[in-house]
Symmetry: C2
Subunit: 464 residues, 2 copies
């Protein structure tokens, strides 16, 4: 390997500038940019402006664009003639902080803390996603400071509504697809594999959200007066839900598995090599037995197999004590995680038809739609994937993985569908970061090595 002097100089600068980089992140974390609560709308604007100013301070042309919701931040900087053009996506909004009493400190008064496992940055958004977003910005800052330029042309694209369903995102992208066009999108909103192994996420599951409400009698009844003769909608609902999985854990919705691909032998071998510790993964949440389809590995269950989960369910009296009510209604929120080319809309139709068939003649069912998105399988044909994988392996001293992610990150699909570019998801979060929960943290190691990782990835992409 030849000595890479420009990269080495940048990495050295990152190391020596870490304290200041940390202070900048703490500044950003102090802004209460909770996107879902209208009371914090001004804070979202403040966070967007902070980022515009920070990008400008590096010498990047940046603007905040108003939307019907919170602003989009877009920054642009050109690299050397002929260098690749990447778009970097992150989000500056954060989750609400309830329940506040479970926090050990003010969620918006962030600080460095020493823990048994090392130094962490504690505060809302430290991991999801301000800390991750800033790993990329800091890498650019160091590179620019060191060399006066950046190795690639870069479009920065920061959203402020990710934690509230991104209502403005698709319209914005559709209106600005030319301006957002690049060779490759980089997304920093994921984590390390098992908190240790660097990972590029190459497949994401889609999501179909459905809510069903069964109505039996037109009012809550006395279960003494009517019990036995009146159909109980909770009985109907539980029968429907209980029938969604067969004895082998397969989902029974007709046609559900159409478009579910088998894992390629190459990927199966790679995943096997990851030696996923499912006992530890489940043990962390006090479980022990993989609950998915028989004959599938735990990693397949969470990355490459579709699921059906009850996310919520309610009927009748659920307060303290007991009421002998025979409920009028029973309802459930049910989601399906989808993979491959499973068609969310066809599955919705099939699911609803199956449910309707199970509702007795004198009960009724109403459906509500909570979104439908297909799974995403990144093509790793773009040479940037292998280059980035190598760069990450170099930084972390461990072979980086092409991994799956059980969750759904719709932006990856939007980049493909709307802008026509592939997306590479690289992130440095750890499993214990407590995102969306009290006491969120980001390891200083994640931040520091994350910044270094991006410097390496940008360098590698420029050299393809």
């Amino acid at each position: 390997m030849t000595a890479n002097r420009p990269l080495k100089a940048t990495l050295n600068r990152i190391d020596s500038d870490l304290g200041a980089a940390m202070d900048r992140l703490l500044d950003l974390l102090r802004i209460k940019s909770i996107s879902t609560d209208p009371a914090f709308a001004q804070e979202c604007i403040t966070a967007a402006d902070w980022l515009v100013n920070d990008l400008k301070s590096i010498g990047i042309d940046a603007e905040s664009h108003t939307t019907p919701g919170h602003p989009m931040v877009v920054g642009k900087v050109s690299g050397p003639e002929g260098s690749p053009h990447v778009l970097f996506y992150g989000h500056y909004d954060v989750q609400p902080v309830d329940p506040l009493e479970l926090w050990d400190r003010d969620p918006f008064d962030p600080a460095l803390e020493e823990t048994a496992a090392g130094k962490v940055i504690r505060g809302r958004g430290s991991s999801d996603d301000k800390g991750q977003l800033m790993t990329f910005v800091e890498a650019c800052r160091a590179w620019k400071a060191e060399h006066g330029t950046l190795p690639c042309s870069i479009t920065f694209f920061f959203e402020g509504e990710e934690e509230s369903g991104s209502p403005s995102l698709v319209p914005y992208m559709e209106e600005h697809r030319e301006s957002l066009k690049a060779d490759l999108a980089l997304i920093c909103d994921t984590g390390l594999f098992q908190s240790t192994t660097p990972a590029i996420i190459t497949q994401l599951r889609g999501l179909l959200g459905e809510e069903i409400t069964i109505t039996g009698p037109d009012k809550d009844l006395h279960s003494g007066m009517y019990g036995g003769v009146a159909m109980n909608p909770a009985r109907v609902l539980t029968k429907i839900i209980a029938g969604l999985h067969d004895e082998t854990g397969r989902i029974t919705v007709p046609g559900f598995y159409d478009g579910v691909p088998e894992l390629s032998p190459e990927l199966a071998a790679q995943w096997e090599a990851l030696a996923f510790d499912h006992a530890a993964f489940l043990g962390d949440v006090d479980l022990s037995l993989p609950a998915g389809e028989q004959g599938r590995t735990p990693l397949e269950m969470i990355w490459s197999r579709p699921t059906c989960e009850v996310n919520g369910m309610i009927s009748g009296y659920t307060g303290d004590g007991f009421k002998t009510v025979l409920p009028s209604q029973a309802s459930a929120k049910i989601s399906f995680r989808l993979v491959g080319t499973q068609d969310p809309l066809a599955i919705r139709d099939s699911f609803r038809a199956m449910v309707r068939d199970m509702v007795p003649a004198d009960c009724s069912v109403v459906f509500a739609d909570h979104g439908a998105s297909q799974g995403a399988q990144m093509s790793t044909d773009h040479p940037g994937f292998e280059a980035a994988r190598q760069a990450l392996s170099d930084e972390w001293g461990m072979e980086a993985a092409f991994a799956g992610c059980g969750g759904s990150i719709p932006i990856a699909g939007h980049f493909k569908d709307i802008v026509g570019m592939d997306a590479m998801l690289i992130g440095f979060g750890k499993d214990d970061d407590q995102i969306h929960s009290p006491n969120e943290k980001y390891d200083v190691e994640s931040y520091h090595k994350g910044i270094r990782s991006w410097a390496r990835v940008l360098d590698a992409l420029a050299r393809i």
Copy 2:
């Protein structure tokens, strides 16, 4: 039939005194004796004192007895030498009034209202149970006023905790069993059959209340990260509940039907003769199909067959919108109505064993006990039953029925078990009285003919 001059005089007096009787009931209805809410404890004392004073005004020796909860009112009056001794039970406490905004008037500012179906007394407690209780008191008042004495010796026994589970009742009865001893108990807390046919309830269902909570993961999980591999407790719970009934509507708990008697041919013929309009009964609540065991009549389903109902069920996120949570817990409140000699404790054990068998190895289940009482089958051997049936038939101009009741009225069993006396349940409520709901009412017809009914029943009992 020989002319019955004393009864006729009493009935005439009841008719002419109806306006004053109504005013007395309105007075009692103004007292906000909600037993379940500690804020109304003083109002319960006020209601008890009102009743003591009212009984005294008739010339009955009455007292209010303090308990750890609300007072018991006990009154005693002797009839002629050798006359039968009856105990009359009613309750002066009422249900809460929430949701208040659904009332068309202040629930504690009762009034006479003209409706399309006739005059009603509108207000909380008008039917359940102050109005019913006062039918008996007014019958005694009229008889005493007319004849200076009563046809039977009577013990009045009014409770103030019926709507909040009667915590003081059994201890009180156990302590005062000698003082409460009579030949027969009369209970006025039930209704007419299908709002038209006078009825003596001769069988009541018992009640077993169970709450089960299934825990899977030790915290709510992200359904993307864990969906598929982590067992969802809502899936476990729904499978358990869905398995509680077989395809024919029978309950699958092992041993559940032990002690369930077949209907005697005599009672079957009587019930058949009632021509129960189950289409109207179900149509009133927007249902049409009897949902109980195949091969059973709708009346059997609600009166003489045991049931299993979900009274409440909750898991995960049940607010607006959608959260992709994989819940840590799922719980349900489930009740069984019991008949014949079904043993509630044996059924509890069997149910819990069945549930435990269905819980996967890495989930856990916790049970909570919400009471267990056996069904009650009154012996109608006491000649008072047939005498009262005839008296009711005379008053209402329709053959009175020995009917069942799907609900559970534990006091009937307590009179048998603790005091050793049979209970005769006679009431005049109608199906549309909206007890426990907003706009509770009691028909003036129920009140007027109810008072007259008791005069006839007392007369009939005295003549056996």
